[in-house]
Point group: C2
């Protein structure tokens, strides 16, 4: 019987120059025109690249953007982790305030929102989005909460996974829905309320 294998391109012969130009062009364009008006044709034109070169290596414009964004964020965050001064409330407030500021920066906002939106619509992309961008973020929170457990500031039986969802879920909800401002005030109140749920049982 005839093989139905789709001929996969030869990765070893891929042009690094074109790859970089494509990722760069998509980040620029998504900031300029927004995600819905972002077009494969425009990316190719801006990058000085044939359309086929994009279609050969990526399944969708969202996938291009995910690669582009991952490249930027890689190693920049997540490396340092969350500071541990011994005061978990202060540490969490510091990080959540910084996150609030980051999400108020348009240069970060536009592509990240585009990815979040595309992920909500496309289950396949969502798996990649969560695994490559969200999970690493969760891990640093879990690490800090675990340290808090060992310091006796946090219930040792707490489900740390669920705890990060309680801490970050309301934050993401506000941001995605634009149902409220991402102020330092909000970050502080959220951390305070979450820590009341995380505290060791009396």
């Amino acid at each position: 019987m005839p093989s139905t294998t789709a001929k996969t391109p030869d990765v070893s012969r891929r042009s690094e120059r074109s790859r970089k130009a494509i990722l760069r062009a998509s980040m620029e364009l998504v900031g300029e025109v927004g995600y819905t008006k972002l077009t494969i044709e425009a990316i190719a034109a801006r990058a000085g690249v044939g359309k086929q070169t994009i279609y050969r290596w990526w399944p969708s414009k969202a996938a291009v953007l995910l690669d582009a964004f991952t490249e930027v964020v890689r190693s920049e965050d997540y490396q340092a982790g969350i500071p541990d001064t011994g005061d978990i409330e202060a540490d969490l407030k510091t990080v959540l305030r910084a996150t609030a500021d980051e999400f108020s920066d348009a240069a970060f906002e536009a592509p990240y929102r585009a990815l979040a939106v595309a992920s909500a619509a496309d289950a396949e992309l969502a798996e990649q989005f969560v695994r490559r961008l969200q999970e690493p973020g969760l891990e640093v929170y879990i690490a800090r909460l675990r340290a808090g457990q060992q310091a006796g500031q946090i219930d040792p039986d707490l489900d740390l996974r669920l705890a990060t969802e309680v801490l970050l879920g309301p934050f993401q909800q506000r941001w995605l829905n634009r149902s409220g401002p991402l102020t330092h005030e909000f970050a502080d109140r959220l951390v305070e309320m979450a820590l009341r749920a995380f505290a060791p049982r009396a």
Copy 2:
């Protein structure tokens, strides 16, 4: 100087028959083909209506869907409110379990997800989405929490607005990101953790 007013259509002469047919057709089609493949042309064809009739009354396909969904949900939910048996933990678990089931139903999921996605991408639509669909839902939670305050089960100084965000944010995050299953188990653990944060201070 010449007026630049866009001629607004005459509402009093609007065809109720066509309006209903359009809303009905969009709900049917979004379930059949999904939101991204939902097309104004297809809605018009299914509804037996000219395209112009849709463009005349709605700014986007998302706006059509929001009207269609609002019409269905109107008065169906939100009327009853959250049961008050005196046991706030049990009551919240009941409602959140029911919500989890609702979000697992494809007939509800498809159009609602479409609206959530479109809202995340479009600030103007988001304002309508939050106000017409999400706010009414929040209000019934706030009412039940307020009753809990009066019953002495909940901290009287609690910010009830923030409380609903803590309760529902993690739920929405899981659902939108598909970062975990919306089980009864999850609903119960979430309510339990939230109530620890809501409890009166010792």
